[in-house]
Structure formats: structure tokens, C-alpha cells
């Protein structure tokens, strides 16, 4: 195989994939152009705005900072996977009701950051939510609305949880 091209095997949205590409290709471009997954957006190309967040082995990372050679055998989850996979149904409930997004450009990055948080903490408080979102820039300033929506969703889950246990 020529040195320009490597053969990559990794898991994308719970499906194994194989890709041949230059080792210096950005994960962001692999997702957007090789797999047509446009939800991962390019905002700053410097890992500062969070528009390109994906889950890599369960952790939120900036796809604009990852070269192809670092992907081998990884599990990558994009916003498309988070919004559609059954395994994320429960997590989706926590941010399904968010109507705070205005232009929507940052929304996919924010939801990946929230998913990463909710994977380890199903009832985060406001400070924890803000910290999780600290790597996401929203030019419309919709942070408060997002935090509020996730908190309300957690609060609904807590109430529902109590009712269930009372019944049983």
C-alpha cells in the first residue's frame, strides 16, 4: 500500500467501517465528506468552539483535532448516531425538549457534549451542565435555555422515578 494511504478500521455509529485515506486526513472531513455526516460542523478548526464534537470511545473530542491515524479501532459516535440509535434513547429524552437553540449551528456540538455528560451522570446540576458545555460556543447566547431544559428534564425524571417506586 502506498505511504499516502492507510486502511482504517473503526466503528462509526455502532457499525464497523473500513476506509482508505491519507493518514493526515481530519476526522471532521472523514465524517462530512466520506460518510456524508454533516451534523458534525466546522466552526473554528482549533478545538475551541465545540461545533465538531463527537464521542470517541465514550469521550467527547473535537473532530477537527483528530488525524486519521489516531482513529484505528476506535468507536466514533456522531450526532446522527446519538439522535437515532436505540442505545441513546434514554439520553435523548434529556435534551429532546430543548427549544433554546436559535440559529442551530452549535446545537449538534452541544448535544454531543450533553450526551457525554449524561453517559456518566444522569442527573447533573446546573454547574455540571455548564462545565460540560464550557467547550461549546454559542453565538446566539442560548446557554441558559439549554441548561434550564436539561435541568427540567432531570427534574421530571426524578419525579417520575419517585412515582414508579411508590406504585411498586
Amino acid at each position: 500500500m502506498p505511504g499516502n494511504v492507510i486502511k482504517l478500521r473503526f466503528t462509526l455509529n455502532e457499525k464497523p467501517v473500513v476506509l482508505q485515506c491519507h493518514p493526515g486526513t481530519r476526522l471532521l472531513d472523514i465524517l462530512r465528506y466520506d460518510f456524508d455526516l454533516k451534523g458534525t460542523r466546522e466552526g473554528c478548526s482549533q478545538g475551541e468552539c465545540g461545533a465538531c464534537l463527537v464521542l470517541m470511545n465514550g469521550l467527547a473530542v473535537n473532530a477537527c483535532l483528530i488525524p486519521a491515524f489516531a482513529l484505528a479501532d476506535s468507536e466514533i459516535l456522531t450526532i446522527e448516531g446519538i439522535l437515532s440509535l436505540k442505545s441513546f434513547a434514554d439520553i435523548r429524552k434529556s435534551f429532546a425538549d430543548i427549544q433554546a437553540y436559535r440559529c442551530g449551528f452549535c446545537s449538534s456540538g452541544m448535544q454531543v457534549a450533553l450526551a457525554a455528560l449524561l453517559l456518566t451522570n444522569r442527573e447533573p446540576n446546573a454547574e455540571q451542565i455548564r462545565q460540560a458545555l464550557s467547550g461549546n460556543l454559542c453565538a446566539c447566547g442560548s446557554y441558559n435555555g439549554v441548561v434550564e431544559a436539561v435541568l427540567q428534564s432531570s427534574s421530571r425524571k426524578r419525579r417520575y422515578g419517585r412515582k414508579r417506586s411508590q406504585r411498586s
Partner: protein
């Protein structure tokens, strides 16, 4: 999930790239384009079939420079082809011969430069009043050039099929774009179709540059006879997109023995950039807002655009008004001190004019917002407390108590001004039209050229139509904006949508209600209004007698705390009280106002764009213009609703109110006269050194 401009484009599309001048100023004496591989094309200025000058909202600049270069990064050649790597290599292989000139560096915007436009406004006898003054107060205020940070970088997709051009662009003015492209490519309007793609926030900063990138993509597509995608990366966008220009404003106020203002003289210097606008709406807005919300019997205002060697400016947020109100409000805080009045009292007394004029009808909405803001923020108590602490303090870097301050401002968004805003883009566009179609199945579709752009405009229209037509909102939709399908309602701003679009929609709804009683679906209704009618009625008013009843008002209170080690100001709270008619939907308005307030806080305290000539290559730290999730202060927005009038535009209000209130709060916290924005830690350090 929306599809932004970066998300669309046919797979067979070519990619475009712009070769830019590496020099700041001078003349191109030779341009050697390398031999192009098959499938690659290029466009130079001589290839432009129509006008090589692009005009938008009063601003003009070349699509491609011919020989004269006026700014770093000015486009010289366009290339397109299948492989971006190859395109980058082609650009690197261009041979450029250049006679470089030294750009003029300036530190003082009022210095000896060529003047562009001059606007003078005066009433009374200012010279006489100054000669009789007991005291004259002077101040100089600067608002820096700033980045319009938007998350989605500029781009366009153009597809020329040999006869017609389809253009996909993130623009708030698709018909304006169509006109500009037609002039550039020398095409009839029926041959050009513009489809508006969802647009991220801060669209004002994109108006001119969206037209430019669209023209460039169109030229490439017409030469290559294939679709072309031209997208800027973040670095390119930050370096080369138009910025909000610098303003320097000098205020002089003549006071009588009681400390009342008897005359005001204002000089406004606006950096017009290297391609200054000939008829600058921003300068006009600045001149007409120069003494803010206050009356004075003698007033003289002179505004100038200076022709500088700074890169081109374009339309920008709150269009000159924000800068003028910043200066007026900050200057008034000096007058408050001299008069030994707290800000609320001073503003109240001066809003109604001199004592003998209090019987005349005041801008009563202004008083209402002022009173409410004072109440909800506990302004009076805090102001007194922080003033007392300030008096006891020796130096700020050895303060025993937290360094806190609270500031207040009063501002209005002129309803007429926003109707004027962006008018005059194209003399052939004199009419705004909106269409409504009742389809079978009791579904209604709204046809307008207003895009949504995160301002909730489409939701507003749907809600209003649902109410008037007694239909469920789910039965109403807005047609995707495509110039082949929708009529020209004019360029989008929230203010125009509510002051022009909503009345048209209401008329359409009423007409539709009548017609549906007798006719069967589908039924189409249209309503239009002439812009001349709106413009003339707006300009007839004597601004000096304007009581502000038609404006939207905001009173803003900002509380800050200064870190005595880093000298960074931290915003503790912002209270906004807004009066903008009967606002609906409330929730959307509150979200928009809160979001814009956060942006305004960011632009008051964070990085200014270091795009001066000497460091033109430095990147603006874009992330430092937008506060993050952990930096959000407490923001309270109250809407004062009146049942007296229609909804007014309000989206600019935070950008008018927050910066001067922020600066006034920092002044109280530090004890310094901070006369510029943004107020960074380095600015406070400079004050300490003085």
C-alpha cells in the same frame, strides 16, 4: 438539524479558492497564473462580464482588484477545480509583481485624513450658548473595531447550467444578492435564482461579504460551466471579512450655573476603511443618535467618515447608533457627577428637557423603562453603596473591599431608522411584497423573502397568521426562500420584519378571510407597500421634536466586579427593561434579548479586533468575543408591554444599552474615567498608569 452552506452542494461540484494580495497597499504590475491542469479554471478582473464593483447597503468594493490593492487579502484571482489540495498548490504557484506602498498608520482617527461623507445637524445657536456657559465639559470616546463573530463561515454554491444561474447562499437579502449578481455577470434577473440557506447569528456582519463570495462563486461557475462551492475557512473569514469599524466621538457640553446642559457639540469620526461608503446609513444613524435620549436647546453634530487604509467595512450591528449612544451615555455620566445627581435622576430630568419644558409631552416610555430598571436592579441603593466605597478607597490594587460598580443607560431603537435600514441597496427595488396562499386542506403558506436567521421571524409570522385566520399553527408554513418563488419583501432584520412584514401579513390575512367566504382554495393574496412611502413619512419628522413614542426603548443596568489582581471586569448582573409595543411571542423575544445581551456583554469586555494595519496578520481571538457557558452573568429581561401600538423591532437594544452601562459600572468600580469599549484588563492597566 438545519443544513448550513457548508452542508450542501452537489457531489460533482468543483471547489473554489481565492488568491489574495499578500500586500496591504500598492499596485499589481504583473500577475502570472500557472498553467492549469485539465478541469481547472480561473477568473481575473478582466473576465468579469458586467460591473466589477459590488454594492450592498451603501457599501461598495471590487469583486476582484484590477491593479490597485487597498487592503491585505484583497481578492485578485479566483480558481476552481475538483481537488482543494491542487487548488492550494496553484495559488502557491501564482507569480505576483507588485509595487508596494506604505499604508498610512494612524493612532488618532480624527487626524488629517481624506474625508469621505460629512453630515451636519444643528439646531439653536451653539456658539452663543457656549460663550455664555458657566462650565464646559469635554470628553473623547472610542469604540474599537470588532469582529462580528458568526459560527458559520462565509460561503456560496453557484450552478450555471449554460442559461441560468442558481445560487445558494446564507444571506438575509436574497433579492439584493440577485441584483448584485445580475450586475456583475450582466444577466437579466429572470436568469438568476437565489435560494437562501439557513444563516447563523450575527448576520449583519455577513451582508457585504455574503454578496462578495456569491459573486465570486457565480463567476467561477459561469467560466467553468459547472457547479462551484466556494467556502471560507475560519482563518480566512476572520482575516478578510469586513469588521465593525472604529469610531472616535468628541462630546462638548456647555452647562449653566445649575449644571443644566444648555448646548451640546458632537464630532463623530468614523473609520470608513479603504472603500468608504458614499452614502453611509451608519453615519446618519450615529449623527441622529449623538445626544441619545436627551433634549438640549442648542445642538450641533458633525459626522465624518474618514478614508483610511483599514480593510473595508460593511454593515454592522446597530449601525452607528450603538457607537453614538455609547458616547452620549458615558458623557452624560460625567455630567451626572458634576450635577451631583445619581444617574436615574439626571436622566429623568434631562429626558424631559429643561424644567420649563416639562409640561410638554415626554418620551413617556423612556421614563417607564427607566423606573422599572431602577426598581428591579435595586440600582439606587447599590449605586450609593458603591459610591461610598469608592470614596474611601485609595488604590484599586490594594482594595480592602470588592471593587464593584453599577451603571445605567437609556437607549432607543428608532422604528423609522430600521425601516430605512438597508433601503437604497438598489434603486429598482422600491416595493415590499408579501403573499399568502390558502391551499386545499385549509393549509396556508406564507411567501416572503425574509429569512429566519435565528430571530424567530418565521415563527412570529406563523403565530400571527394563525391568530388572524383562526387556524392551528401546524397548518401554516413559510415557503423556503427562493427568488423564483417568493416575492421581494426586502432585506431581513427583525425590525423590518415587524414594522414592514407584519403589517403586510395582517393585510393579507384580512383579505384572505374575506375571499375564502366566497372562493374555493387555492386562493392567493398579495399586499405591497412602497418604500418611498415609508421613507418619506419617516424623514418628514423633525428629529429635534421627536418624542420617541415610536421607538423601542431600553433601560439597562449592569453590575460589575473588578478583579484587583488581573484587572479583569466580571459582569455580576444585567437588567434590561424593554418597551417595544405588543411583543409576541414573548418567549422568543426573551430568548433573543437574553442572547443578544450576552453577546453585548462579550463585546464590552473581551478582545477587540487587532486588525490594525501594522498587525493585519494577527488573528482575532474569536473565542474571546463570545462568553462561554460558565461566564454567563445573571441576566434579567423585563418586557413592558403597551397595548397602544404595534410591535417594534428590538433586537438591537442590548447592543445599544449594555456597553455604556458596562463602562459606567467599570468607572464606578475603578474610579477611572474609562472612555472606550471593549474594556479589557489592559485598558484598566493603562488607566492605572496615567
Amino acid at each position: 438539524m438545519h443544513n448550513f452552506i457548508h452542508d450542501i452542494g452537489p457531489k460533482r461540484a468543483l471547489r473554489g479558492i481565492v488568491y489574495r494580495s499578500p500586500f496591504r497597499k500598492g499596485k499589481v504590475t504583473g500577475l502570472g497564473v500557472p498553467a492549469l491542469p485539465k478541469g481547472y479554471s480561473c477568473v481575473q478582473a478582466r473576465d468579469i462580464p458586467g460591473s466589477s464593483i459590488l454594492s450592498c447597503a451603501g457599501y461598495s468594493l471590487p469583486v476582484l482588484a484590477k491593479s490597485e490593492v487597498r487592503y491585505l487579502g484583497e481578492p485578485l484571482i479566483l480558481f476552481c477545480g475538483p481537488d482543494p489540495e491542487v487548488l492550494a498548490e496553484i495559488c502557491a504557484a501564482v507569480e505576483l509583481s507588485f509595487e508596494e506602498e506604505s499604508p498610512v498608520e494612524y493612532k488618532d482617527l480624527s487626524g488629517p485624513y481624506r474625508e469621505g461623507q460629512i453630515i451636519n445637524v444643528a439646531h439653536g445657536d451653539v456658539d452663543l450658548a457656549f460663550s455664555l456657559a458657566d462650565q464646559i465639559v469635554e470628553g473623547e470616546y472610542r469604540t474599537a473595531r470588532q469582529e462580528h463573530f458568526y459560527p458559520d463561515t462565509q460561503g456560496a454554491v453557484a450552478d450555471w447550467d449554460g442559461k441560468n444561474l442558481s445560487l445558494y447562499a446564507a444571506t438575509q437579502d436574497p433579492f439584493g444578492m440577485r441584483s448584485a449578481i445580475c450586475r456583475c455577470l450582466d444577466l437579466a434577473p429572470r436568469k438568476v435564482r437565489v435560494v437562501a440557506v439557513p444563516i447563523g447569528n450575527s448576520m449583519e456582519g455577513k451582508l457585504l461579504s455574503s454578496f462578495l463570495v456569491a459573486a465570486q462563486a457565480s463567476l467561477l461557475s459561469s467560466i467553468a460551466a459547472k457547479p462551484v462551492v466556494l467556502l471560507f475557512n475560519r482563518e480566512e473569514d476572520l482575516l478578510f471579512s469586513p469588521k465593525s469599524p472604529e469610531f472616535l466621538i468628541r462630546q462638548q457640553t456647555a452647562l449653566d450655573r445649575e449644571g443644566g446642559a444648555i448646548a451640546v457639540r458632537v464630532q463623530i469620526f468614523m473609520d470608513g476603511g479603504c472603500y468608504p461608503p458614499k452614502d453611509c446609513e451608519a453615519l446618519r444613524q450615529a449623527v441622529h443618535s449623538a445626544w441619545g435620549a436627551y433634549r438640549v436647546p442648542n445642538l450641533e453634530i458633525t459626522g465624518r467618515t474618514q478614508v483610511t487604509d483599514f480593510p473595508p467595512i460593511g454593515s454592522f450591528r446597530a449601525s452607528g447608533r450603538a457607537q453614538a449612544i455609547f458616547a452620549a451615555e458615558l458623557h452624560s455620566s460625567r455630567l451626572e457627577e458634576i450635577a451631583q445627581l445619581d444617574p436615574y435622576t439626571w436622566k429623568k430630568e434631562n429626558l424631559v428637557g429643561r424644567k420649563e419644558e416639562r409640561n410638554k409631552r415626554p418620551g413617556h416610555m423612556a421614563l417607564a423603562v427607566l423606573e422599572e430598571a431602577t426598581r428591579i436592579s435595586d440600582f439606587t441603593r447599590k449605586y450609593s453603596a458603591y459610591s461610598a466605597v469608592k470614596k474611601r478607597r485609595r488604590t484599586i490594587d490594594q482594595a480592602a473591599y470588592p471593587l464593584r460598580g453599577i451603571g445605567m443607560s437609556l437607549a432607543s431603537q428608532d422604528a423609522e431608522g430600521t425601516r430605512e435600514c438597508l433601503h437604497g441597496i438598489d434603486e429598482t427595488r422600491n416595493t415590499c411584497t408579501l403573499k399568502l396562499v390558502l391551499e386545499r386542506g385549509k393549509r396556508v403558506r406564507i411567501f416572503t423573502s425574509f429569512v429566519d436567521c435565528g430571530m424567530g421571524i418565521h415563527a412570529l409570522f406563523i403565530q400571527r397568521a394563525a391568530k388572524l385566520l383562526d387556524l392551528d399553527p401546524s397548518k401554516i408554513s413559510v415557503q423556503p426562500v427562493d427568488t423564483r418563488v417568493v416575492p421581494d419583501t426586502g432585506p431581513t432584520t427583525l425590525a423590518r420584519a415587524v414594522t414592514v412584514g407584519l403589517p403586510l401579513l395582517e393585510q393579507c390575512c384580512r383579505n384572505l378571510q374575506k375571499r375564502r367566504k366566497t372562493a374555493a382554495a387555492p386562493i392567493e393574496v398579495r399586499r405591497s407597500v412602497s418604500l418611498d412611502t415609508l421613507l418619506v413619512s419617516g424623514r418628514r419628522k423633525d428629529k429635534s421634536k421627536d418624542d420617541g413614542a415610536e421607538s423601542a426603548w431600553v433601560a439597562t443596568v449592569v453590575e460589575v466586579e473588578l478583579d484587583p489582581v488581573s484587572l479583569q471586569s466580571i459582569c455580576r448582573g444585567v437588567w434590561l427593561v424593554v418597551e417595544a409595543g405588543t411583543i409576541a411571542p414573548r418567549k422568543t423575544a426573551l430568548q433573543i434579548l437574553e442572547g443578544e445581551t450576552l453577546r453585548a456583554v462579550g463585546s464590552s469586555q473581551l478582545q477587540e479586533y487587532r486588525g490594525t494595519i501594522s498587525d493585519g496578520r494577527k488573528l482575532c481571538a474569536n473565542t474571546d468575543l463570545i462568553p462561554g457557558a460558565e461566564q454567563v452573568p445573571e441576566i434579567q429581561v423585563h418586557l413592558l408591554e403597551t397595548q397602544e401600538g404595534p410591535m417594534k423591532g428590538y433586537e438591537q437594544l442590548p447592543h445599544l444599552g449594555v456597553p455604556p452601562a458596562y463602562a459606567a459600572a467599570v468607572c464606578q468600580a475603578t474610579g477611572f474615567y474609562v472612555d472606550q469599549v471593549p474594556i479589557t484588563a489592559e485598558v484598566i492597566q493603562q488607566c492605572l498608569e496615567m
